[in-house]
């Protein structure tokens, strides 16, 4: 969470600078930046943004893949004999995870990832129109 908020904080920090007359450079300024810094500096900021965007993505998908691993290989295989002592309705829990639950969790994971990435895309202003 902290990392993902960073770029936003960066933008906020820059806002006061907008009081000083903005330096107009090329027309193709990134629509996100409220201020247009000199070209070299702008490129540096974009690189940093790109990097934190990628880090945010990798972190999100790592969390998702840990859950992916735990429900399938953990609950569905390694811990299944243990979990089978617990019942979910008429299902032994380990069996349920292996033949039903893991698939539902996979679905939720992809849905969550797609939704969260949509948010991250917008935050870093790399979303498609």
């Amino acid at each position: 969470m902290v990392d993902e908020n960073k770029p936003q904080a960066d933008e906020e920090n820059k806002t006061p600078a907008a009081d000083t007359p903005p330096l107009k450079t090329e027309a193709e300024a990134a629509p996100a930046a409220p201020v247009t810094p000199p070209a070299a500096e702008r490129a540096a900021i974009q690189d940093a943004d790109r990097e934190s965007y990628w880090k945010a993505n990798v972190r999100l998908l790592s969390i998702c893949l840990v859950i992916w691993f735990v429900v399938s290989f953990g609950f569905g295989i390694l811990l299944a004999p243990l979990l089978n002592h617990i019942s979910l309705g008429g299902y032994p829990l380990g069996f349920w995870f292996a033949q039903q639950g893991s698939i539902y969790v996979f679905l939720l994971l992809i849905l969550f990832y797609a939704w969260r990435m949509g948010q991250i895309d917008r935050k870093f202003n790399v979303h498609e129109d």
């Binding site: 399938s72 008429g90 797609a114």
Partner: protein
């Protein structure tokens, strides 16, 4: 109405539908031919991907595997769905951003190497052709059984249908026919499951029904009842792990997952959506539509085996009159006996069917001594369970006809997707990419269609004269996809440092090690009798089965690719820039 006539009508009507769609959605440009003009809505694309992905193996074989393997069949359920999580997060969005037509194209560009592209083409062709042979065989069997024609005639009919809509329509036609095929196959799969679940548990949703109580008992759960019913005839508990070792279970699941994510004909589906975020959404919809079948399958399997055992063992186990009289067997047993896929041998000559686990030495000895049983007398081929299921449950003929149409739809849609992947690898990657880069779009399209015809003919021929393997084909295709393509695709996106030498070394290591390991136990090119070691756990390296080896092949691929890339020159700056750009949906 007579079953045969009804099947003709239902299957014929679905074919008319597919061909109609193919003519309506003819491809006119290479972009439409390969990636449907990149204009497919994510939900529609998800549905088409589901049909593309779910083959005759999913539709016909899987529930049968579950029925006879119980818990252990979970490897297929988790393995064939979990791969979509990898696909959605590790491959699909970035490959869509890359924005080209084929998987070898990405590998060739990313690793700035024609050799890499060529190795990728070889991997793709080997796995797609082996996979499509299995599908054509499935089409042939389904046709010949239900239409009561010779397998060659069935196969020819299937080839003609695939020819019309795949060759004319390309990806555009295939996408829309696959949507129709998805609807047919999911309807055909779930309708009997709902009926059977209602009969047994009073619960229409099979996913809930499997965890519910059995109608006519004092709140006994179906799975408890099933465990007890099969324990009475010597089988281990349905809901517990039994045959696979933990290592093989983990590795096989992993190999199927990675293999799923690395299948080129599934990956190219994500090139057809308009935007990167649609690729992520599309992966969700694909798994959603797949999950409708995959979460129903456990109920189909469990209820089928329950019904089967209850049918042949209506009375008390061991009582002289407890087993079913062969003369009084239901009609569906007659029908399937004729195909040879269901067999009755009256070992103890009492005219009754004794079905039990004669491989369980303790139970078998007890049964011989106390019940006078001389061995299990019923042999049921696993592959008939889904097709026979509606008959076992006594459902009307139109449901049986529908299941036939569904099985054919599943096989045809996968065959078409694979053929497209094969033809684009030949015409786009091999011809335009390597041999004659100046080819015009029109001629490339023509080459695509010609290579598709050639692929259909080859697949048809091999489907008719299979090199003596069936399930191994699927294992090989997945093992190859897992060990050759997935690791370099992922490294190409996630490691800027990955270079051409690393990628080529990785792909070759994964491909060759997996092929060798399979051939050592299954015979060189699957020729019977040419295997080096017998295919059983005593001879497997560290107890790893050939089917599970894809996961090890993938690990070797990763390791070799990373090691080689570290000791060779880093990729040029423009390639590192390319990697940067595929990582973001819109360049900032």
């Amino acid at each position: 109405m007579d079953l045969k006539l009804l099947t003709f009508i239902v299957v014929g009507a679905t074919f008319a539908l597919y061909i109609g769609i193919a003519i309506w959605a003819r491809a006119s440009s290479t972009s439409e031919f390969y990636v449907a003009g990149k204009g497919v809505n994510p939900i529609a694309n998800g549905m088409a991907t589901a049909a593309d992905w779910m083959s005759a193996a999913s539709f016909i074989s899987m529930a049968g595997l579950i029925a006879f393997m119980g818990f252990d069949a979970s490897v297929y359920l988790m393995g064939w769905t979990g791969g979509y999580v990898l696909m959605a997060m590790l491959l699909a969005p970035y490959l869509r951003k890359f924005g080209k037509f084929t998987v070898p194209e990405f590998i060739g560009d990313r690793f700035y190497s024609r050799t890499a592209r060529l190795v990728a083409i070889i991997c793709l062709l080997v796995m797609s052709i082996t996979y499509v042979v299995g599908q054509m065989r499935g089409v042939g069997i389904a046709f010949s059984r239900f239409l009561e024609v010779d397998i060659a005639v069935g196969l020819a009919a299937g080839m003609t249908i695939v020819f019309i809509y795949a060759v004319l329509g390309g990806m555009k036609g295939i996408t829309y026919t696959q949507i129709a095929q998805y609807v047919v196959l999911i309807f055909a799969y779930t309708v009997p499951a709902v009926f059977i679940s209602l009969q047994l548990t009073g619960m229409p949703l099979p996913q809930i029904g499997l965890g519910s109580t059995v109608v006519g008992t004092d709140g006994v759960y179906l799975l408890d009842k099933l465990n007890q019913v099969i324990a009475d005839i010597g089988f281990p508990a349905y809901t517990d792990r039994n045959t696979f070792s933990t290592l093989n279970m983990v590795l096989l699941t992993l190999a199927l997952m990675i293999g799923t994510a690395g299948l080129p004909h599934v990956i190219i589906r994500f090139f057809t959506v308009p935007r990167v975020r649609d690729a992520r959404k599309s992966a969700f919809w694909a798994l959603f539509f797949i999950a409708l079948l995959y979460t129903t399958a456990p109920a189909v399997g469990a209820m089928a085996i329950y019904n089967l055992v209850k049918t042949v063992q209506p009375g008390e186990v061991g009582h002289p009159e407890g087993s079913l009289l062969h003369e009084e067997r239901p009609r569906w047993m007659h029908t399937w006996e004729a195909t040879g896929l269901l067999e009755f041998k009256d070992h103890n000559e009492d005219g009754r069917i004794q079905y039990y686990n004669d491989k369980n030495p303790e139970f078998s000895a007890m049964a011989t001594e106390e019940y006078g049983w001389q061995g299990s007398e019923l042999r049921v081929d696993r592959d008939i369970m889904v097709l026979a299921n509606p008959e076992i449950a006594g459902l009307p003929n139109w449901v049986i006809a529908l299941v036939a149409a569904g099985g054919i739809a599943a096989a045809l849609s996968t065959a078409a997707g694979l053929l497209l992947a094969i033809s684009s690898a030949i015409s786009h990657d091999l011809l335009k990419g390597i041999i004659m880069p100046k080819i015009s779009e029109k001629r490339e399209l023509m080459a695509g269609r010609i290579s598709m015809v050639a692929a259909i003919l080859l697949a048809g021929y091999l489907g008719l004269n299979p090199p003596g393997f069936a399930a191994e084909v699927v294992a090989l295709a997945f093992g190859l996809a897992a060990s050759s393509l997935f690791p370099v695709l992922m490294l190409g996106i996630f490691s800027k440092r990955m270079n051409s030498a690393g990628a080529i070394a990785g792909m070759l290591t994964g491909l060759i090690s997996t092929l060798l390991y399979i051939f050592i136990y299954k015979g060189w090119f699957f020729l019977p009798g040419t295997n080096v070691f017998p295919d059983n756990a005593d001879y497997w390296l560290l107890g790893i089965s050939p089917q599970s080896f894809g996961a090890i092949g993938a690990a070797l691929n990763f390791a070799v690719a990373i090691a080689v890339s570290r000791v060779t020159a880093p990729p040029p700056a423009h390639i590192q820039e390319l990697v940067e750009s595929v990582r973001v949906p819109r360049a900032g």
